[in-house]
């Protein structure tokens, strides 16, 4: 029977350990992976399969279809071919989450979705500046992964991971004010959407619009903490589209070489703006790339909150042990367009319908009710409370002021406004009493 240590047992890890021993470069990663955390509950879960590259696939269903480009007369469109009438898979029971944690996680997912509905309404009322981005269908992937982080860990969300921001301590009003470009938003109107962060308390690195650039940055956060004697898990997400960029490769490779605590969730959400995965990458499973990077990979159902949580949790523990990065490929579908302006008319209807039946919140809700970890009354109360909180946050955000125009000129440089010092402790000083010796060695150009 498969256990949680399965992903760590991939051939990629062995290679990596051997390399690290040979060149002795792995810093604090010297510890063996002796620890084998045991299951919290002994719930029976179906066995985990390995794919042809030895990558564990935790899913309880492997959808068999593909999107192809079809030219019909004078029109080109996408069609989906394959099996679309299969039964909806159950939730894979979590090895780590307690019943209460299930409910708490469910609440974040509900909050995530309903906040985005509120954002959509604010947009329709012309209260939003610019567009709105949604993570519909990806709430489990955003919330359950962030929920698996330790208190000191860092994260860097992408545009569809607004749920992660809620889980990690931001409020709906922060996100609403970002979209409304308000003075009280985390960036004080300097940037919008999810483009904000906090290095003081919540340890969130702000994304930029260019995809993949967060990967080396999160590897660097882990590197910086390691210099200070701290092993952090640094969680970020990337799409099947975003991982096409060169900097993604650079960042993942650097993390693998240095065995840094990068926890990378590749959200294979099937559409990169309007381009289907089939026209984005040549591999069926992006997790296979873990083999090439020399790190463990795992495939999960991104609509199953328990799988997202467990896989992230294991990757986080691995990072805390200094054993290096993990690539988690979460399979799911982006259930709205790229942004609010995009009706996603290019998505075949049957495909949308297939994934709608696998909605992450509906299935999780049903699972909790069946388990009796949540009664229908409690569920209604939970939803009412979420709505109440969102109402209050919406009121607050709508009534908060726009920024003073002159502040546009402020803040380009840090002129002593920050007291910069190592967050986790001073790195070790020089080893010897040696002095600098002049170098007479030959140089590249005279």
């Amino acid at each position: 029977m498969a256990t949680k240590s399965k992903p760590a047992k991939s051939s990629g890890k062995k290679t990596q350990q051997a390399a690290a021993t040979a060149n002795g470069r792995n810093g604090a990663a010297a510890k063996k992976s002796a620890s084998s955390p045991q299951s919290a509950s002994a719930t029976k879960a179906p066995a985990i399969q390995l794919n042809q590259y030895g990558i564990p696939d935790w899913r309880l269903e492997q959808p068999e279809f593909e999107v192809i480009e079809v030219t019909a007369g004078r029109e080109v469109h996408y069609e989906i071919r394959g099996k679309l009438d299969t039964a909806v898979p159950p939730i894979r029971p979590s090895k780590y989450l307690s019943p209460d944690q299930h409910v708490e996680l469910y609440r974040w997912m509900v909050m995530n979705r309903r906040m985005e509905v509120a954002l959509e309404n604010l947009y329709k009322q012309s209260k939003v500046v610019g567009g709105v981005y949604f993570g519909l269908g990806q709430e489990a992937c955003s919330c359950a992964s962030a929920y698996a982080l330790g208190p000191d860990d860092w994260f860097a969300p992408m545009i569809r991971n607004q749920g992660a921001q809620l889980v990690r301590g931001f409020h709906a009003r922060d996100i609403m004010m970002q979209y409304m470009a308000k003075s009280g938003s985390p960036t004080h109107g300097k940037d919008g959407t999810s483009h904000y962060g906090d290095i003081e308390k919540r340890h969130m690195v702000s994304p930029i619009s260019m995809l993949g650039d967060l990967l080396p940055v999160m590897a660097g956060v882990s590197l910086g903490a390691r210099l200070q004697g701290k092993e952090l898990a640094c969680l970020t997400w990337i799409g099947d589209g975003g991982q096409s960029t060169g900097v993604s490769y650079e960042g993942i490779n650097f993390a693998a070489v240095r065995k840094l605590g990068l926890v990378l969730i590749v959200e294979s959400n099937l559409w990169a703006y309007s381009t289907p995965t089939e026209y984005q990458v040549g591999v069926k499973d992006l997790a296979n790339r873990a083999v090439g990077y020399g790190m463990p990979g795992v495939i999960i159902d991104g609509t199953d909150a328990c799988q997202v949580y467990d896989a992230t949790y294991e990757a986080v523990q691995r990072a805390h042990r200094g054993e290096g990065p993990t690539l988690i490929e979460a399979k799911l579908m982006r259930m709205k367009g790229h942004a609010i302006h995009d009706a996603a008319a290019y998505v075949p209807k049957e495909m949308h319908e297939f994934w709608r039946k696998r909605d992450c919140i509906d299935r999780f809700e049903k699972y909790l009710l069946e388990k009796k970890w949540l009664t229908p009354e409690q569920n209604q109360k939970l939803i009412d409370e979420v709505e109440k909180e969102l109402d209050a946050d919406r009121e607050f955000a709508v009534n908060s002021p726009m920024p003073e125009p002159h502040t546009a000129a402020e803040g380009v440089f840090c002129d002593g406004c920050h007291n910069i010092k190592p967050k986790y402790g001073m790195p070790k000083k020089a080893r010897g009493e040696g002095k600098l010796k002049a170098s007479e060695a030959a140089i590249h150009f005279k």
């Binding site: 940037d191 904000y196 956060v221 650097f254 070489v257 190592p422 020089a430 590249h444």
Partner: protein, 324 residues
């Protein structure tokens, strides 16, 4: 005070900062056991250990990204570009991730991006460029380009202590060609302040990096003809020392802007605009630009010689301006 080359002076500054502040570390390609392509960090890994002198894959975006990430945890990374030409590979990371972070979300980025720039060593189109203007044009970046060993040492120290990203351009032509007495520990040169390299009353040459020495040679020749040239070494290209620029123009009333970077969109155009804004009434002649050609840096010595500004170009233009 002891004599040091431009290269040794940078090494000293970097070493001293790493000694006094353990939050400073170096990251780059081949900087560890090999000591760097130009040996700036030669021997550093043995003294400071591989945790603070980190060799990376050949991946400039990863180098800058990782340096930025480490800076977010409160460290002061010094990232080396083996050649400044390769900074183009990390352009997005620098311009969009690093330079905008304080403005956008209040995260300071105290990192130094350093490495060899400039031509005159027959390095060809990809080992000779002067990439300063991409970054002078980027709000949030500071750009430094020292011309002397003392300034190189004092400025690398200031760059490391600065709370903002600083692009530190080392002119590779100068690495072992110039020497002078360099102050010991404690010597710091402020960012944003130009240096009066040579006083004169007849005309001013505003320049930086290796061209300071070209201007110096020209000034020696012109002095024999009775033309007293003032040379202002900018040292910092962003933010520019507007006051020093205006002052020298107000004093000599004639100005030559000299740089090794190519002409169109080069710093000379920006300085000319500043002079218009600050000292237009003080001009007694046209603002003269002397720069490289608007071409890639050619490889073959006679071609590169033709491409670069030369002492004779400066002498010729100075005579012309003097008699204007």
């Amino acid at each position: 005070m002891a004599e040091a080359t431009y290269l040794e002076a940078i090494r000293q500054g970097l070493w001293e900062e790493m000694e006094s502040d353990p939050s400073v570390f170096c990251i780059g390609e081949d900087i560890g056991i090999y000591g760097g392509a130009f040996k700036v960090t030669d021997g550093f890994v043995h003294h400071f250990g591989p945790q603070r002198v980190i060799d990376t894959p050949i991946a400039e975006s990863a180098i800058v990204g990782a340096a930025f990430g480490a800076a977010l945890t409160g460290l002061r990374p010094v990232a080396e570009f083996q050649f400044m030409d390769f900074i183009g590979c990390a352009f997005n990371q620098i311009v969009n991730m690093v330079a905008k972070s304080h403005y956008r979300w209040g995260a300071p980025a105290p990192l130094v991006l350093r490495g060899p720039a400039g031509g005159g060593v027959h390095g060809g189109p990809f080992h000779s460029q002067n990439p300063e203007m991409y970054f002078v044009h980027t709000p949030g970046m500071k750009v430094v380009a020292p011309a002397t060993p003392s300034d190189a040492k004092g400025l690398i120290k200031s760059a490391i202590r600065d709370n903002n990203p600083v692009l530190f351009l080392e002119h590779k032509f100068l690495y072992r060609r110039i020497k002078e007495d360099v102050p010991e520990n404690g010597h710091v040169v402020p960012i944003g302040k130009a240096r009066m390299h040579r006083e004169g009353r007849d005309l001013s040459i505003i320049t930086y990096a290796a061209m300071v020495h070209t201007a110096q040679e020209a000034a020696d020749i012109l002095a024999k003809e009775g033309i007293e040239v003032e040379i202002l070494d900018l040292r910092t290209l962003s933010p520019l020392d507007r006051e020093a620029i205006a002052q020298t123009v107000k004093k000599t009333n004639k100005v030559i802007l000299l740089h090794e970077d190519t002409r169109t969109g080069g710093l000379a155009g920006e300085i000319a605009a500043i002079i218009n804004e600050e000292a237009f009434d003080d001009l007694d002649g046209p603002i003269v630009r002397i720069t490289s050609l608007d071409t890639p840096v050619p490889f073959s010595p006679p071609l590169e010689h033709y491409f670069l500004p030369k002492v004779e170009d400066v002498v010729r233009e100075a005579r012309k301006l003097h008699s204007y």
